[in-house]
Homo-oligomer: 363 residues x 2
């Protein structure tokens, strides 16, 4: 295992971008370049000075021929073909699970590393599911050049839970989410704006993207309900992926996933039971030094994590840290966190995975 992919706690607070001079310019592909995550992938590569030599952007045929801007220059969008990955070093996929299932293995066969933002390979035993601060060491163990980027809620929660779990075993987890429109894509963000503008104007608006009216309203996540458990697909994904990310295969967990009228950052209330008591002071100290985490827990000023402050930020914000009074054993903490769904919940984490691969000399 490369040294740079060692335990997250040994890493620097904010994983540093790969230095362009250290590595040859890479050929990068983005599949799903016109989506909300695609736009953030392009922005992250640019902002973090990722060593991009050539950038290939792929989207559906109706976008082919249009251009997007990277480092001030136009890049033409191409229609995806089976031969599109020749010479690609890293391909970021963010265009849905079925497309990833078909084209991901083709990209790997063409010699590329694939960082897949869909759910296609997240529970595949041979594919590492990675948040670099949490389990970046798994990148040293991947046989197939395919890495899964977690569900946004799971990634954001894992950044905060992992540094606690590393000190005191988490034995039960209950979460309620406040999920932004961005998780359902750019069209959902537009619908939130349009539906809200209509409501303010006293006009009716028929939902086109979401299943329910979105203006000043919230609703259970629209993923299908598992008839056996009553949990929806999003909740089951979050629970399963958090178990994988934390290396806690049997962790009893329950999530309630709710879509709220917020544009791009997810928040969640977490109740975490540990195998032994954890003091608020200890938890705060551990989180204050954890990579990718920013403590926002000012009780006097009533200043705690908010989506508005998490939007556009790399760090996941955590606050409202307190001993949970519903657990008489004193072994539970309550937390409230917020993280940018498009950044740590998607594009940033994908680029950080690629950076880790570059730093480890695997790409």
């Amino acid at each position: 295992m490369p040294q740079s992919l060692s335990s997250p706690l040994a890493q620097s607070r904010s994983p540093s971008p790969a230095t362009p001079t250290m590595t040859r310019p890479l050929t990068i592909a983005i599949v799903g370049a016109t989506g909300a995550v695609g736009a953030e992938l392009i922005a992250c590569l640019e902002r973090r000075a990722f060593p991009v030599g050539e950038l290939r952007l792929f989207a559906s045929p109706r976008s082919a021929g249009k251009t997007l801007t990277f480092r001030g220059a136009p890049v033409m969008i191409q229609a995806l073909e089976e031969t599109s990955f020749a010479g690609v070093d890293v391909a970021f996929f963010s265009a849905g699970a079925s497309l990833s299932r078909h084209y991901g293995p083709l990209a790997v066969a063409a010699g590329a590393w694939v960082v897949d933002n869909s759910s296609a390979f997240r529970m595949d035993a041979d594919t590492p599911l990675v948040v670099p601060e949490v389990n970046g060491w798994r990148l040293g163990e991947t046989p197939g050049r395919l890495v899964a980027n977690p569900n946004c809620v799971a990634a954001i929660a894992a950044v905060v839970l992992a540094p606690l779990h590393a000190r005191r075993l988490i034995v039960r987890l209950v979460g309620s989410t406040y999920q932004a429109a961005s998780g359902a894509g750019a069209a959902a963000m537009a619908e939130l704006r349009d539906a809200t503008a209509a409501a303010l104007a006293g006009e009716t608006y028929a939902p086109q993207v979401m299943a329910h009216p979105y203006a000043f309203n919230l609703f259970s996540h629209d993923a299908g309900i598992d008839p056996e458990t009553g949990y929806n697909g999003e909740e089951l994904k979050v629970m399963a992926e958090l178990r994988r990310l934390l290396g806690a295969a049997d962790l009893p967990a329950s999530f309630t996933c709710i879509r709220v009228p917020v544009l791009r950052a997810h928040a969640m209330a977490l109740t975490v039971r540990f195998a032994e008591p954890v003091s608020v002071d200890d938890a705060r100290a551990w989180l204050a030094e954890a990579p990718g985490v920013r403590l926002v827990d000012d009780r006097e000023a009533n200043h705690f994590p908010m989506p508005g402050e998490a939007s556009g930020r790399d760090d996941v914000l955590v606050g409202r840290i307190r001993t949970d009074l519903s657990d008489p054993s004193g072994r539970s903490l309550s937390l409230f966190i917020a993280g940018d769904q498009l950044l740590k919940g998607a594009a940033l984490n994908a680029v950080q995975i690629a950076e880790s691969l570059v730093e480890a000399g695997q790409v």
Copy 2:
């Protein structure tokens, strides 16, 4: 104890409004008539055909002389004075705790029943804290003609929890709230609209009512944080009042209270542990027949409680009923509920308390 104030489960599904012909026309006072709850109190009295003979509306001196409409006729708003309650049968207070503390006892001394919507008397041992469907029998035990209307979150949650608690003892309760602007008053609702309109227009908006930007954002409830426990005042109120309403003085409970950009109905995710296992089918059956509750739990259609559908409705909506997978004992259920903060969370419950007093012949 009057027969009509017996156990909630013996009541009809929707407590029927008092029939005007059964009772003499009453003199009703509303203190705080121009607020969001005041407006709903007036509407509830009218809609439910409460036997109002004379309606006296009180507000701050700057509103005195203006009029509001009741049953199609204008009613002039008066400035509140210590002698305002002469001849009043029922006075609804909704103008803050300090005003209730001063004028509430004066109204009682003048011979009125007081239904107080503030927090002033909610934890007073001599004052019943009442949700008619939950503990209406307590109205038969009140020595002081003063009744406290619960906190909106507590009232809405209690309507759903009480019919479960009546069958299987609740032994632990965890809640995360999604609270609407209305809970902070009409000015907060206006600020949500104004701040959102500004955001959509790309303009800046400086918060004037809320402590944080409200457009497409959410934040921890602004009640002060108790330094000892880390819970905020709203959370501690909800936890204490739910214990009183359920008659479960030692119930371990924890709430996280979050303000969301929704106009007038509160939602919440509840995790409820019982002393013994409760099946989803049993819980659903008990809730389906509970007064003031409407089951909205259509897994196939992904149709569950939403603030948009709870707004303007008397019933509290409940759905997402499932066995909580984080509790390996199988003794916990997860629920998602939504109820109108201004109706069951405030004005409707207050009017229902008055109706119960009329039906019992106490007024």
